[in-house]
Each structure stands twice: as C-alpha cells, then as structure tokens.
C-alpha cells in the first residue's frame, strides 16, 4: 500500500463537541492539505459525526448519480472506524466554496485521487480517540482494548462502551499524529459487496430528485431557447400563452423566454403557444459542412501532442503501409431526468435545490446573477437522474435563478426533453486520420495520427487540447515511431464532458485502426495487441483475461464473430470482447466479456453495475448515437430520433473484476470506451466491412454478410 497522503496533525481539525456531547472530525483532501500547510487555513472535506445515541453520520460531499458514492464513501469510513453499519447515517453536503475541497463530481474521482486514504485516516483517527477515551475511563492500557460494531471492548475484563457513550470524552482528546490504518486483510466492508443505502427509497418513489423538490409558494416554469446555436430573442408575443389557464407570467431570460405557471403542464402548454421571433445569428452549418471543415482543417499544421522516433522516415521505409480516416458524430447526454433547477431568490439571500455535479459552480453562478455574496447562496444537492457530465454545467441554473428574480417567487425550472436534447454540451464530433507502417515481420513500426476535434476544457502545451487527444497521445501501445498531432476546428456547437470524455471516441479510432493493422499484418488481433503492451502489464493482463473468458480463438457458430477493444481511462484498465451477429441485416451484440482492473475495489457489486452500465451506455453510442446539425440547429429532439439502448438490445454481459491491491482507480467511466471498437472489430471479422464512421445505424452490410468467412474468421 502506497502512502500517498501524509497527514499532519494540523491537517485535522476538531470542531469541538456537538451540542449533545459528540465528536466531529473534519478531514481534508491532499490538495487542500498542501494549501493548509502553506496558509495555515484549514479546509475540512468530509465530516464524521458520532452522537451520544451512537449514530455515526457521514457527510457526503460528492453528488450521487448512480455511481453509489453515498454507500462507498461511508463504507471506507466505517471500516477504519469499526463502526456498526446499521448505525450509519448518510447526509448530503450543501455547496460550500472551500469547506469540503472540490465538490465537482466528475472524472470517476469520488474515491481515487485522495478521498480513499483521507477517509481511511479519518475513520482510523476517530477510532483511536474513542479507544483512548475508553482506556482512560477504565484506567487500562489502550492496547488491551479492541473495537467492533461501534463499541470499544476491554478484552481482559469484557467491559464494553459504545462509541456514543465515549464520544464526548473522545472529543476532549488530542488527535493522533499517525493513526494506525488497517491491514487490508482486516477490512470488513472495503472489498465486500454492500447494498446501496438509497435503494429502498428509490424503489418506492421516495428519493428526491431535482424535479421532486416542493417549496411553499413555488411556481413551475419551462424555458424556450433559440434553436440555432448562438442565436437570441428578437421579440416575442405571449398573448396566446397568457390565455392558458394557470399561466402566471412570461418573462425574458438572457438565454431565452420562460413561461411561469401554477403547474408544469400550464407552463409546457403555454410555451407551445409562445410566438418568439429569434435572431438566429450567423451560424448555419450542417453536419456535412462541419465534416468538410474538419477535412480542411486537417490539412493545416498540427500541434504536436506526442512524438517518438522519426515517424516520417519509418513510414517511408515501412514494408507495409496503411491509411484510414475515422469520423464520429456529436452525441447528447440524454440524462433520464431532464435539466432542471429550483431557485428562490430573495432580497438578501438565495436558496437553490438542484441535481448538479458542480454544487460550487451553481453557488458562484447564482451569486454572480443575483449580486449576492457566496455566503448568501445556499445550494442543496438532490439526487441526480443521471449526470454523465451534463450536470457539471450551470446553464439551466441560470434560467431558474433569473425566472425567480423576475417573478419574486420560488421557481422550479424544467426543460422539456426537446430543449434538453437541443441545448446540450455535446460529445464532440471528430475527424481522425491515420497512417501506419508495418515492418517485414508484420510488427507495428510507425503510427502517425492527426486529430481534428472541437476543443473544450484544459489546454495543453503548444495549442493541443488535452481532452481531444486523451486516449491517442497516451495510447497504451509501444510503437517505436509515433507522431500524434492536433488541429483545431472552429464550430460554434457547444461541446463538453461526456462520460469517459476523450477516450469515448479515441478508443474507438485507435482500437479500430490497430485492428486494421493486425489484419493487414495477417496477425491475430489479440496476439498483435498483446505484443505491443509490454510496458502496460495491467492492461495486457486484462486483455488476456478477457480473451480467455470469451473463448477467443475457439470456433463460434456460423454467423457470429468476436472483436476486441481496450482502454486505460480514469485509472481503470479495461478490455472487452464483443460477440456479434447480424439479425435481419442489422448488427446485433450477442455477448460482451469484460475484464477490468480498477485497482482496489471498494464495493464490487457497484463496480459490476457501473461497468455493465458503461457497456450499455457505449452500446447506445455505437449502435444509435448521432446528433446531427442542420441549418445551425440540432435535428434530433426526443427518443424517437435519438434512441437509447433498450432492454431487448442488452446483450449478455460478463464482467471479471481482476483482483488488485493497487490504489483504487475509477469504475464509472473506463468501461465505456472499449465497447464501440469491440463491436465494430467483431463486425469486420464477421462481414469484412470496416466501420470507420459511427453510428452503426447508418452502416449497410452486404446481403450475404456474415455468411462468408472473413479474413480472421477463426476467432
């Protein structure tokens, strides 16, 4: 176990006793600890509270969107604390600018990257203080005491005291400098499958999502936005809207027009009758124009993202050369719960209830819009009906805050599914050009990759957009001569974070082209990859496990074939083998075998669920996912033209979680990227048709496809 976090005494802060005589501990994340050390200002991250009734309350500062964080974080605390799981309460933190560190829930980062060790130390530290309090009470050496189920037990005499009974005395004691952490063999919860604490509420309709918030005097609103990106409201006629029973007000917002009503239906009906004249602005491109623009930009000079060896020379002298271009479309998030926010703006304060991945961003957005200080803005985080990256933005919060400011009432703002789909921050469409060179033995000698992708997020050195090249510049294969560069297009379609981010498209293009090279070299795609993974033993291992468990190399019934995809993403190493067929000429995914090494797993049942769900999410994209642009606006509007994977299309999925004692990695995202190439590589093996453009719903397969034996039909 690597001790990546060295907690110093001052990194803990005792906030003193609870009113009833309890113990509260604050803990900070590593980043904040460094700041604390320099500036001596402590910023606690997670609170553990032990009350006299012997309840341990864990305050979760990250957002729950199905990744099971309200179960996993308390499991870590409870394990080191030796707490009784049946005496744990979970509370959801409101937004605070610095008390918890970052509350942004993205990048599969709720456990990895700090909270894991920090929470262990928090639990262990509290446990030692409780033991010290008991030892003092009984006047015995602390090392004669042990703990279990929220009790301290003096082994020689059998005396017992609950944590609740000891909490007040413990809160008077000094914090231990170096609390003893458990040996992993002693873990009671970590690594064991535990039921989600929120499932009972969720199955009874009792879980409060954003749209379930009810505030006294609340009005219900919806908003319409210019269908063309970059457009604005020229004028509007609300006379028919105002005739709808229940409509109270129609107000202009900076992003559109809001209809505010006594109930949601009146707002929706009123919005349908609203006559808005839009200033469409200058954007009128269509998807084909965007594609042509990408091709043009691909001819300009690229910013180098990675360079190894001399790729031009190596390509020049290669025994075999291969070129290909890959394109993927824009994708919407399509969270099941459409964007919404409830806001109540008063003269001196503002209160917000919102399903958000970015509570602090909501807080600062509301402060900016209202002119109130951050400390006058309260943000309550509800359950999220999926996040997927969409809820890291605050555009829908702005609509709610402005509608409340204009009406003076608490307002619940909901976007229709159509508004949600047409006003997203989309997974970018991209264009990727490859040149590969094989030596006389069929080994991959040289690879040149040019990525054209609309930029978002952090800028890398030399004008490279990091998200755009993530998964390409850091591809896992050892290639002697490698050049990855990046060209920046200019298209005003909003783009942003979409579950698994850059690798969502880049694993598809890399894994497809590597498959092409394997076939060109007349090599088995599994062996071809395996040989290139010498420097990535964890990835190589999951590839081997996935191949073995899927029966790679063993004959399949006629009409079926297998394909491989793999990725390193967000601290997870994942390989997948898809088994496909054609049904009525349409691609059908029969089975997926997945091996994943995500480091030490906190809750294996959650990890299983997350990876199976990631495969379903990736299958929607590869089979159906396409947002197309026409006249500067999105063509799709609802699930009839942006279909999601249905239960009937859900393949049999086997997930093998590789045992690991490495630091925990992400589990919510790394399962997404490999499935697209696994499926399309399998389709190539089945039909000989190479898919270089997604989604598959636009691809045609020859009538006899799947019957002919393809070049690599044996696997």
């Amino acid at each position: 176990m690597k001790d990546i976090v060295k907690l110093r005494r001052r990194d803990f802060l005792k906030l003193g006793s609870l009113a009833g005589g309890g113990l509260i501990l604050g803990v900070s994340l590593p980043q904040q600890m460094l700041e604390a050390a320099e500036g001596e200002a402590f910023q606690p991250n997670v609170f553990i509270q032990i009350d006299p009734e012997n309840w341990v309350t864990v305050c979760v500062h990250k957002s729950e969107m199905g990744q099971g964080i309200r179960t996993a974080l308390p499991m870590i605390v409870a394990d080191e604390l030796d707490a009784d799981w049946n005496r744990i309460k979970v509370t959801q933190a409101d937004a605070h600018p610095d008390k918890y560190g970052s509350q942004m829930t993205v990048g599969s980062r709720s456990i990895r990257g700090g909270a894991w060790m920090t929470l262990r130390r928090a639990g262990a530290s509290a446990r030692e203080m409780l033991v010290a309090a008991a030892a003092a009470r009984w006047q015995v050496p602390p090392d004669q005491c042990r703990t279990e189920n929220s009790k301290v037990i003096h082994a020689p005499t059998g005396r017992e005291a609950t944590y609740g009974e000891l909490a007040k005395a413990a809160s008077q004691l000094p914090l231990p400098d170096e609390p003893r952490l458990k040996d992993p063999a002693e873990f009671r919860f970590i690594g064991k499958s535990m039921h989600q604490v929120d499932t009972p509420d969720r199955v009874q309709g009792k879980a409060t999502f954003g749209l379930d918030v009810r505030v006294p005097g609340m009005l219900f609103a919806t908003a319409v936005h210019c269908p063309v990106f970059g457009g604005s409201v020229e004028s509007f006629d609300a006379s028919r809207t105002r005739e709808v029973p229940g409509v109270k007000e129609v107000v202009q917002l900076s992003q559109g027009v809001a209809v505010v009503a006594e109930h949601t239906w009146a707002a929706l009906r009123g919005a349908q009758l609203l006559d808005v004249t839009w200033n469409h602005g200058g954007f009128s491109m269509s998807s084909s124009d965007i594609s042509a623009h990408f091709r043009e930009v691909a001819e300009t000079e690229g910013a180098v993202a990675r360079k190894e060896g001399d790729v031009e020379a190596a390509l020049g002298s290669a025994a075999g050369r291969l070129e290909a271009v890959y394109e993927v479309p824009y994708l919407a998030h399509a969270t099941m719960e459409p964007m919404n926010c409830t806001a109540h703006v008063l003269a001196d304060r503002c209160e917000i209830w919102v399903p958000t991945q970015n509570p602090q961003g909501v807080q600062s957005t509301a402060a900016r819009l209202t002119g109130l200080g951050i400390d006058r803005v309260t943000v309550h985080v509800t359950f999220l009906g999926c996040g997927l990256g969409r809820r890291s933005r605050t555009d829908f919060v702005q609509d709610a805050v402005e509608a409340s400011m204009k009406t003076g009432a608490p307002v619940q703002m909901v976007w229709t599914r159509e508004e949600d789909m047409q006003h997203d921050f989309y997974r970018p469409a991209t264009y990727t050009r490859f040149q590969g060179g094989l030596d006389a033995e069929g080994k991959l000698e040289a690879l040149k990759v040019r990525v054209v992708a609309p930029p978002f997020g952090g800028e890398g050195p030399g004008g490279v957009n990091r998200n755009s090249v993530d998964g390409v510049a850091n591809l896992p294969y050892q290639i002697p001569h490698l050049l990855v560069d990046y060209c920046r297009p200019n298209v005003p379609v909003p783009v942003g974070y979409w579950r698994s981010v850059g690798p969502s498209q880049n694993a598809f293009v890399i894994e497809s082209f590597v498959d092409e090279l394997a076939h060109a070299a007349k090599r088995d795609p599994f062996e071809f990859r395996r040989e290139l993974l010498a420097s990535e033993p964890r990835l190589r291992h999951v590839l081997e496990v996935a191949a073995q468990r899927s029966g790679w190399g063993k004959p399949l019934p006629e009409g079926r074939a297998r394909g491989i995809g793999l990725v390193i993403n967000k601290g997870g190493y994942v390989a997948q083998v898809a088994e496909v067929s054609l049904r009525d000429g349409r691609p059908w995914v029969e089975k997926v075998t997945c091996a994943a090494d995500c480091g030490r797993i906190i809750n294996p049942d959650t990890a299983q669920a997350q990876i199976v769900g990631s495969i379903a999410y990736g299958l929607t994209a590869v089979l159906h996912g396409e947002i197309s642009i026409e006249g500067g606006r999105v063509r799709q509007s609802n699930f009839h033209d942006y279909p999601l994977l249905s239960i009937a299309e859900m393949p049999e999925v086997e997930v093998v979680l590789v045992e690991s004692t490495e630091e925990p990695g992400g589990v919510g995202e790394p399962g997404v990227p490999p499935i697209a190439p696994a499926v399309t590589n399998a389709l190539f093996a089945l039909t000989g048709t190479r898919i270089r453009k997604l989604p598959l719903s636009n691809a045609a397969f020859p009538a006899n496809a799947g019957k002919a034996v393809a070049t690599a039909g044996s696997h």
Binding site: T199, R202, V203, L211, H263, T264, T335, F383, A616, S646
Partner: protein, 154 residues
C-alpha cells in the same frame, strides 16, 4: 377548465383542470405524488408508467379526461402494505443506479407479472422495451423480474 374526478391509490380526488392535462402532471403537481417521473412527454421512455385499472399506462400522454373511472395506481400505492414483491426483488438485486427511471420500470414489471406470472426473457423484453434506462440496469431488471416471479436463476 373542467372538474375531473380521479381515484388514485384508493383515494378520491376532484381536480379543477384543463381536460387535456396529462395524468403525469396532475399526479405530480396537483396531487403531490412525485414518484411518477417526467422523462420525454411523448410516451417514449416509460419513466411516467402508472397502472390504469391494473394495466401499465404512460401517464405523460394520458389526458386526465381519458382516465374515466379506471383506478390509478402509482409507485406510492403499488403496495398497500409494506413492499410489493417486485420492489423487494429490486432491493435484493440492487437494480437502481441513479434510480430515476425505476418507478416506471417497477410499474411495468408489476403489470407484466400480474399478466404473466412466469415470463421468459423474450416476454420481459417485449413488456419492458418501452422503459428506457440510461444507466443500463437492464440485466438486473431481468434478474429482478425472474426473482419476483419466484424462479431465481443461477
């Protein structure tokens, strides 16, 4: 505006509403039962599934005027007494991830099992195809339905 009588979860309600108001919004905003969810407004995703006289129905495209005297059952009223066996199976299999679509999934599953006590996988697919889940919990939905049907599979 019209006076509409609805029987929901065994209780009688009288609402002054426009007759075209979808049952979904009457339940959520007027009666205060928020367990039934809005997902698409077009009957395409199944989040809003309730029972009308025991049959699964999409409340987002069912005007209150079309309900008539059929009793309405929502997720809150699925069981009068503790948990319905479908809810128990959902807990045992830990089906939900984000949970937003799950009330609709459960209502569809309960209606299916009332019709077909031991559904096959194809029966499940056919009955549940209109209930979308963005988290991808479909494998557990299948397992939980089999569990609720009393035929736990290995």
């Amino acid at each position: 505006m019209a006076t509409i009588s609805l029987q929901v979860n065994g209780r009688q309600y009288s609402l002054e509403v426009s007759p075209d108001t979808p049952l979904l919004w009457a339940l959520r905003d007027l009666i205060g039962l928020t367990g039934t969810k809005y997902g698409c407004g077009q009957g395409l995703c199944g989040c809003c599934t309730v029972h009308l006289a025991g049959k699964a129905a999409r409340s987002c495209i069912t005007p209150v005027s079309a309900v008539g005297d059929r009793p309405v059952t929502t997720i809150e009223g699925l069981s009068r007494d503790g948990l319905h066996r479908v809810q128990e199976a959902w807990i045992a299999e830990d089906v939900p991830q984000c949970g937003y679509c799950q009330p609709g999934q459960i209502m569809s599953a309960a209606a299916l099992l009332a019709d077909q006590p031991e559904p096959s996988d194809p029966d499940i697919d056919a009955a549940m195809e209109g209930n979308l889940c963005r988290c991808g919990t479909y494998d557990r939905v299948r397992r939980a339905i089999h569990r609720a049907a009393g035929e736990e599979r290995s």
